[in-house]
Structure formats: structure tokens, C-alpha cells
Amino acid sequence: MNWINSVVRPKIQNVFKKRDTPDNLWRKCGSCGEMVFHRDLVAAFNVCPNCDHHIKLPSDERLKLLFDRGEYETISVPSVPSDPLKFRDQKKYTDRLKDARSKTGKEDAVTGAVGRLDGSEVVVAVQDFAFMGGSLGMGAGEAIVKSIEVALDKKCAFIMVAASGGARMQEGILSLMQMSRVTVGVQRLRDAGLPFLVVLTDPTTGGVMASYAMLGDVHIAEPKALLGFSGPRVIEQTIREKLPEGFQRAEYLLEHGMVDMVVHRHKLKETLGRLVRLMMHQPKAPQSDYQLPAAPTAPQAAG
């Protein structure tokens, strides 16, 4: 079982962990501009209590949201060649990597974990936008492939929570090849008859959107997430016209048939649990341990 390297029990861990942000801090919602008590925001998994805006969620928080009692085992990822291009733009790639690692405490943009979601065993891989824009390089590719292998091994569903600006430019063509590579992983899930569910979060674009993020059995998007192939700025520059309101937002993709549903973050676990159980021919979940502040009544699951 060498893919297990740590058992994370956040409740215990939090007692010892130094908090980054003091409890009394206020944070400003990027959408409504309202000042929100930091603790309230964390408790609501970064959904603004005032306007329901879904603020980006760090990968650990996402895993805590999805797994029963917030308990999961992270999947260890074999190391990949680092900086094969000896890349430097305004900064050396190795320095950028170092910065991202110290900022996020992660090895790369994707964290894989296995645990139970409403009682069903699942593997979840989360792409963290805070790590170099969630970009897909060899490290992230390896983490996804490894997570898929664990799902194949355990014969359980695989859930991909995507968030990415696209390919990891600093790894050049090798990063492009990860699109094909992860697609092989998706095919193996398909061949094994295992469900592949994609959660599209803000933002998911470029090569990630143009590969595994659009190959799920079911696509679930978070409200108002920016989702597309080319970024809106590039499109505006190319076609020289203003894009319509809501262009490339989750609701827009729902309208255009690219996602199955737009689901509020507070309903995400419940929705995934229901789908996994249906697809795995498992009985209804006995009783969800799901406890969250009551979700505001604004945009709810469309499905």
C-alpha cells in the first residue's frame, strides 16, 4: 500500500497547526465587496454568506468538504523529471516551483486522495489554482494518473475537481502531452466500467478543459465558474467584439449542453454521493453526515 503516505485527520491536525489567518480577520468578497468574517467563510467552504459567490477553495478544504468527517488518505505521487527544458522566462522555472511549493505546501497542482463519500469509497483528485494557476505539467499529470490507478485498484469511482489555466507552459511540449496521457487514464476507467465524474470549478480553461475535464461521464459545474477553451481576453482580441454577458460561465455552458448541472458547493457532496451510488449500483446512502450552514436560497442545483 505504498500509495498511502499519510492519514489526514484534519480535526486533530488543526489543534496543532498554526493558523495562517487569525480568527478575527475580515475578508472582502471579490464579488459583492462585502466584508466577511474569515471564520464564517471557512465554515461555509468559501461561499460568500452575503452573495453566494463561490470563492476559490484550496485543495485541502475541498477534500474536507467531500470526504466523510473530512477524513481521507492522500495518494503519494512518484517524482517526475523536474525542469527538463531548463526553462526560464522572467524567472527560473525551478524558482517558480519552489515559490509555489512553499506558498501552498503542495508538491504540485494536483492532490489525490482516497476515502469515503457518503459511505462510498471514492478517489478524488483536486487541482489547486493557487499552485501556478493549477497548470497541467508532468507532476500534475502523474498525480491524476496515479489517482486513477488507485481507483482502478480499489474498483471505485474517480472524481476530478478541475481548476486550471491550462498547460504548464514552462514544461513546453511535455505539458501538452499530459492531455493525451491523462486521457489514457480516463479510457482505463471506462474500460473498467468505473464512473468518472468531473467537477468544474472557477476557472477551468485551455488544455485541461480540452482533455479530461470534458471527458467525464457526468460534468458538474460550480455556479458562475469560468469554463472554456480560449480565455475571454484572447477571444476578444481575435474577433474584435465584446463578448456577451455571462459568456463561458457555468450557466452558459449548461445552456449550451456542455455540462449536466450547475451545483451549489453546499450541495456538491450530496450530488456526487447520489451519482456515485447510482452508477455503482449501490443502495441509497444510509444517512449523510453532511453538516453545513444552511445554503442561501439563491442559485441552487439545476439538476
Binding site: 512518484p78 517526475v80 523529471p81 527538463p84 527544458l85 526553462f87 526560464r88 522566462d89 522572467q90 505539467g137 508532468m138 499529470g141 502523474e142 494518473v145 498547460a167 507552459m169 514552462q170 514544461e171 513546453g172 511540449i173 511535455l174 505539458s175 501538452l176 502531452m177 499530459q178 492531455m179 493525451s180 496521457r181 486521457t183 489514457v184 487514464g185 480516463v186 479510457q187 482505463r188 485551455g206 488544455g207 478543459m209 480540452a210 482533455s211 479530461y212 475535464a213 470534458m214 471527458l215 472554456g228 477553451f229 480560449s230 484572447v234 477571444i235 481575435t238 474577433i239 467584439e241 463578448l243 456577451p244 459568456f247 463561458q248 449550451h256 449542453g257 456542455m258
Partner: protein, 319 residues
């Protein structure tokens, strides 16, 4: 009239002189300058050879985009008998940025397709400069599936700056279309050979280049994003395209080193555009060679080989 690239200026001058002298010699055969002409011609040829042996990344990028370089339709005409283009994605429309269909390649039925950039204003518009919309990729999926059904090898020729970034394309699922095309490349149980003939631009290229064998012409490039796009993302300045191209290692030679492609096909001295017929014949030989090599494998093995090939990219040691 030959189109010279900027760095080819010294060649242009020499070859211009050769032309002039040749005219003179024609007018007055007694002038006795034929020796000079021959010498000058040899000098020009040597200069061209030296120059093309040492092209830097940006120069190669320019050669890869040379307007006189043979394009998909040239190859199809030169290499494919009974070429029968098929149109439409059976869903929304026909996208001529990717041209493809059935044909006979060296005696056997194949599906062949590729990006077509066009050669003049009219054809460039018609083919949208080789930048496909979702319909192009959905047509590609349709053709690959047909190849699979009728046990025909798939040949793709890659030449695009990338998928078209536009409003309608996004609305109709550009990302999904590319994803599905990559997926189909990895599914079909037939031999599959891709050749990058010019520019392999990002997902728009990869969508039909996830093949059993991937070859590149000597002066072609293959990128995660075009040098211009990379420069504006990483340097926030698209004028840095030259630096971006160099830093991102986009040449055929770099890709071979990185283990991303299988083989480089030498170009005639001075680039594919100088000896078009020769280039296309060589490309035909190379494709035939790869297809013959793959012909011993059954469908399941072909699919598995392709999956394993791409699964290995980025795992293990790289120089």
C-alpha cells in the same frame, strides 16, 4: 517567384546575381562568363546548405510557416490516389480548416486528413488559416471512427497555429471537441501515423496527432502554445515570440530528444518549399515505412501500444 525569408537575404542576393549573369550569358554566349556563373551558383548553394544546417529556433519557426511550403492538399494530391474528401460533422457544419477523407495510399485504402492553411487570400479564408472550429475536430472523430470500422490506417498531416479562438466555437464546445478527438485517437484499433509538416500548434494539433507514430519534418515546430501566445502569457509581451520559441524548445530536434516524437524527416537543402516534389515523395516513403512497421499488430495491440506510448510521457528519466 521564390519568397525569401528575412534571414535568407544573403542567399537572395547571390541567387539574384546568378540569375542576372545567366541572362547575360544567354544574350551573349561569347562573353565567357559561364565559369563565373557556375562558381557563384556553387557559392550560393554552399551558403544555403550552411545556413540551413544551423537554423536557430526562430528561423525554423519562420521556415515552418513559409508560405510556399507544401500544405495538406499538396501532399494529398501528390501521395493519394482517388482522394475523396468527405465533409461535415453530421451535427452542425463543415469546417474546411481540417480537410480529410478516403483515398488510396501506395495501393491501400486509408483515411487521410490534416489542417490546410491555404495558399492565397481566398483559400486562406476558406480554410480559416488552418485553425479549426469544433466541427473540424468532430469531422476528424467521424473519419477516425470510419477508419476503425473499415480497418483502414489513419494518416494525419499537422499544420496549424492552433484551434480557432472564437465566440461561436466556444459556444459549440471547442474544448469538448478537442478532448473527444484526442480520446478517439487513443481508441481506434488501426495503424495511425502523424506527420507534422509545418506548425503543430497546441491542442488544435494534438487533437489529431495522438498517433501510433509521430514524425516531424526537419524544420517543423510543435508547441504547447504558439510562440506569440507563449510570449504574451509568460513575458506579457508578444514581441518576445523569438525568445519564447527558443525557451520552449519547439523544434523537431528538441522534441526527439524529449522523447515526444519518433523520427525526424530530413528536408531538402533550403527547406521543403525549395524541392516540394522531393519533400512530398520522401514524406510518402516515411509514412509507408511506419505503416508497414505497424501492419503486423492486431487492433487491440495497436490501441494498447498507443496508450502506453502516451502514458510514458513525463514518467521516468529525461535528459
Amino acid at each position: 517567384m521564390h519568397t525569401y525569408l528575412e534571414f535568407e537575404k544573403p542567399i537572395a542576393e547571390l541567387e539574384g546575381k546568378v540569375q542576372e549573369l545567366k541572362l547575360l550569358a544567354q544574350e551573349d554566349p561569347t562573353a565567357g562568363i559561364s565559369d563565373d556563373v557556375a562558381k557563384l551558383e556553387a557559392k550560393a548553394a554552399q551558403l544555403l546548405k550552411d545556413m540551413y544546417a544551423n537554423l536557430d529556433t526562430w528561423q525554423k519557426t519562420q521556415v515552418a510557416r513559409h508560405p510556399n511550403r507544401p500544405h495538406f492538399l499538396d501532399y494529398a494530391k501528390a501521395l493519394i490516389e482517388d482522394f475523396t474528401p468527405l465533409a461535415g460533422d453530421r451535427n452542425f457544419g463543415e469546417d474546411e480548416a481540417i480537410v480529410g477523407g478516403l483515398g488510396r495510399f501506395r495501393g491501400r485504402s486509408v483515411v487521410i486528413m490534416g489542417h490546410e492553411k491555404g495558399n492565397d487570400v481566398e483559400t486562406r479564408m476558406k480554410h480559416n488559416f488552418g485553425m479549426a472550429q469544433p466541427e473540424g475536430y468532430r469531422k476528424a472523430v467521424r473519419l477516425m471512427e470510419m477508419a476503425d470500422r473499415f480497418s483502414m490506417p489513419v494518416i494525419t498531416l499537422i499544420d496549424t497555429a492552433g484551434a480557432f479562438p472564437g465566440r461561436e466555437g466556444e459556444e459549440r464546445g471547442q474544448a469538448e471537441a478537442i478532448a473527444r478527438s484526442i480520446d478517439t485517437c487513443l481508441s481506434v484499433q488501426v495503424p495511425f501515423v502523424s506527420l507534422v509538416i509545418g506548425e503543430g500548434g497546441s491542442g488544435g494539433a494534438l487533437a489529431i496527432a495522438t498517433a501510433s507514430r509521430v514524425l516531424m519534418l526537419e524544420h517543423s515546430i510543435y508547441t504547447v502554445a504558439s510562440p506569440e501566445a507563449s510570449a504574451s502569457i509568460l513575458w506579457r509581451n508578444s514581441d518576445k515570440a523569438k525568445d519564447a520559441a527558443a525557451a520552449m524548445k519547439v523544434t523537431a530536434q528538441s522534441l526527439l530528444e524529449l522523447g515526444v516524437i519518433d523520427r525526424i524527416l530530413p528536408e531538402p537543402v533550403g527547406g521543403a518549399h525549395r524541392e516540394r516534389a522531393q519533400m512530398m515523395a520522401d514524406a510518402g516513403d516515411a509514412i509507408e515505412h511506419e505503416l508497414r512497421d505497424l501492419s503486423g499488430l492486431d487492433g487491440a495491440s495497436l490501441r494498447r501500444q498507443r496508450q502506453e506510448k502516451f502514458m510514458a510521457m513525463g514518467r521516468g528519466d529525461l535528459s
